[in-house]
Symmetry: C2
Subunit: 381 residues, 2 copies
């Protein structure tokens, strides 16, 4: 099997991630942060260290790390919280995932918000001049941008967009599901209020542990409630961070895995991992360009991308193409990839695309298997 | 270290749980249910099998298994959903955890609901006659009962309470965090609408995977939104189950762990695991009764319990006692255990208790270490 579905979840993980999860959970799998005994203290130590590793990676020692089980739940906590706090005008990129758009649609249907799209040119450039006109016209309360599109890998100039958004007083949220640990971003900037990460994607950790970084001074009403092992007599969620947003038992085995992957990323460096990602992306593009029945979507010279490439295959629906590739041992993701909005923008709605996504561990043999499979399709078309 | 904090999270897990998680995630750690390729299909196969194992364990082939990352999030999804659907009068047991009471408090403060306590006698008997008067007086919309108290282990007669609640047309929810896989309950009964489970507690799985079983005909408006890898063009959550409530990437390594633990429980049988739990509980009670400075709380002859025992230690606060035990290598949980309501009922609020909780893997040497530690306290009082 050749794995080209790293945008769904990176696979495999660094060996240290598997081995540390196993040894840690066997040795220190007791409750963390609730009991006072030594075992809990060790689990607690790993949690504290993992928060610091995330702050280091994202250059934001003054921002608070909040763990959540998935990036989707993190997005629900932030978006629902900010809307319940009064945000009415929400701007999003044209490439947002259903994890963002379905939440917004719920509140739009209730008549509580209006949703607008940030201006992006025909050549996929975020148009800051037009954005200024947009913001002058309808002032933004909340601006949400995926750092990289999960459909075409296009990286958004988050610093510039948020710099502008902050001049209008908006709350800002960047979804780094496809970029944390891969594309460097200074989350320490004053203009970034929230940054969501998915532990099991570019951060190379296991499923079950994600979260967000937040500017501690932002008012974010909690939307999920429960025990925090802290301030238990209080029937409101405690006001202290991270407890206010971390209810229920933390996924300690997940924290252990993310701890190991963050250390691995630290040793490789984000810069080198991005270089490798670009090498793999270029190789993928080169292979795909060798077949005249394949059309890549949303690839524009001069733009910045991560290793995600969407394409169409002449005369075959994306779902059928995905099925054929699957039968040939090539793992890809076909259809809308949970991002109908992006496909509408790209003209590939509703059939979607075949999405290939590389990772740090994509190997020569994976590319060779891909060529074999594409040759097979070429011969049998 | 002697581990007496199994009510927080069971530890250790059956060896198969650790080893299957590791081997499964190394081999099949790709995305589940989103791609069509073979690797995803294998992960998907494990998810389908694990749903069936849960239905088998809880005798409810016709109820739908919904996975959620934690029991707390499962409770938020159900309680917030049922309240947003119009429930106004909520009855709870006097032993509910903050995972229930903090959610309810939020809606009570908003003036949306009234919360009432089910009648329990001085001798800790759920009083069904008085409950009938309560329900006649103020009709219940929603009845929530923890199957076993996480403070004193008292098991509630859920079948009888829900039988009564259903005669008044209430929606019913049992929180099985401390009982699933340990105390047999026929969740297949028509009177049970929702049953929440915590994968990492009595089910002996890892942290990061919990969920609930639901009667599919119940109307439960979703409160969390996101991608489902299914019906992606739809900006509402899909109406199909389980997709309507399972947004975001499922924790596949967690599913693997729960799959292994459910098979282990199936081989042992719930009946035998409960017998073992009672042996361990009796041994714990016998040890504690040997020290005249220890008072057990909420232990009444003739009631049904799981292996959770709370106590007070003369002249020492519960937190100090927990600290001393911890320094002697005994893992316990002191204070309110996230259940201030239960402590108010038991007269141990706000200082709380020292809670000991046994598990399937509590050993002779753990009890011996406990005796040594208690002897030390006795000598140094």
């Amino acid at each position: 099997m050749a794995y080209f579905d790293n945008a769904a979840t990176t696979y495999p993980k660094p060996n240290e991630v598997y081995s540390f999860m196993d040894s840690f959970y066997r040795k220190y799998g007791g409750s963390a942060g609730r009991g006072e005994y030594a075992l809990a203290n060790t689990a607690k130590g790993i949690i504290v260290e993992t928060r610091r590793l995330l702050q280091d990676l994202l250059h934001c020692p003054a921002k608070q790390v909040i763990f959540a089980p998935t990036a989707t739940i993190a997005l629900n906590m932030i978006i629902q919280g900010i809307i319940s706090g009064g945000a009415k005008i929400v701007y999003i990129s044209p490439f947002e995932h259903n994890a963002v758009t379905r939440i917004l649609y719920h509140f739009k249907q209730l008549g509580q918000i209006a949703v607008k799209e940030l201006s992006v040119s025909e050549t996929l450039e975020y148009d800051l001049d037009r954005m200024r006109y947009q913001f002058d016209d309808v002032r933004p309360d909340f601006v949400i941008v995926s750092h990289a599109s999960n459909v075409i890998g296009l990286v958004a100039p988050v610093e510039d967009i948020f710099d502008l958004a902050k001049r209008y007083g908006a709350v800002t949220l960047v979804d780094m599901a496809q970029t944390a640990g891969l594309v460097d971003l200074n989350v320490g900037l004053d203009t970034i209020d929230f940054a969501v990460f998915a532990g099991h994607k570019t951060l190379l950790g296991p499923t079950g542990l994600s979260g967000f970084l937040m500017e501690p001074s932002i008012v974010l009403p909690p939307v999920l409630f429960g025990g925090t092992g802290y301030d238990s007599a209080n029937q409101n969620m405690p006001n202290s961070l991270p407890e206010k947003y971390e209810m229920g038992t933390i996924n300690t085995i997940g924290v252990a895995g993310l701890n190991a992957s963050l250390k691995w990323i630290g040793r490789q460096t984000v810069e080198k991992l991005y270089q490798l990602d670009q090498l793999h992306r270029n190789r993928l593009l080169e292979i795909l360009s060798g077949y005249d029945f394949i059309t890549t979507i949303g690839v524009v010279e001069g733009r910045k991308y991560v290793g995600i490439v969407s394409c169409l295959i002449d005369g075959i629906s994306s779902d059928s193409a995905g099925g054929i590739l699957s039968s040939k041992g090539i793992a890809v993701r076909s259809g809308l990839q949970c991002s109908p909005l992006a496909h509408k923008r790209l003209g590939t709605f509703p059939a979607g695309t075949v999405r290939f996504s590389v990772g740090s561990f994509t190997e020569d043999k994976d590319f060779a298997e891909l060529v074999t499979a594409l040759d097979y399709i070429a011969e049998n078309m």
